[in-house]
Assembly symmetry: C2
Homo-oligomer: 111 residues x 2
């Protein structure tokens, strides 16, 4: 066991969980935060920002890229990364939808 039964779930459910999972590690949240802080796509210098080995960060970047949360373009010997707004919005939209639904039906729910 230990393998997720993805077949049962809807496309949306699987997609959303992939995005959430990619954000489900503090290092990857930190990478997103850093990408935001530097106000432009970053070319290099992520490694010096985090207390992780270069190999580990490369791995985290790959997972963010697999989830399409970031995209990277080669720029000489460096690689420029930036946030993929489209993917981020998929998740943001989902959450705001859930939020709206919750506003509407405040049927006598758990206190």
């Amino acid at each position: 066991m230990g393998a997720t039964k993805t077949d049962f779930y809807s496309e949306d459910q699987n997609k959303l969980s992939v995005i959430a999972k990619a954000l489900g590690h503090p290092a990857r949240i930190a990478i997103v935060d850093y990408l935001l802080k530097v106000d432009t796509c970053i070319c290099g210098d992520i490694v010096s920002e985090l207390p992780l080995a270069q190999a580990t960060i490369s791995q985290h970047l790959r997972e963010l890229k697999n989830a399409e949360l970031i995209k990277g373009t080669i720029e000489g010997t460096a690689i420029c990364y930036c946030i993929n707004k489209t993917t981020l919005n998929i998740f943001a939209d989902y959450l705001s939808l859930v939020g709206q639904r919750l506003e509407m039906d405040k049927t006598n729910c758990c206190p």
Copy 2:
């Protein structure tokens, strides 16, 4: 190895990643979706909705509860679960903040 270095990251980063991680499985997204669909807190019948054993679902519910994404109250022999709006908003707010920042600085970023 295999243990996350949570010490380095900010409280926010850790908290956000915990919430995201809890949503990082299609079964747990499906549970949230179901909680939303039934328009009230649900008492029972999650097990029949998903192709998972009762023990497994109980485990998923526990993780959602640990992340404070849902809360449950005992109701006779059943337990009523519903979404914890507060926690959900923490994540929704984070994403909309990121979204706003991305709108502002569209400095020549990766194409």
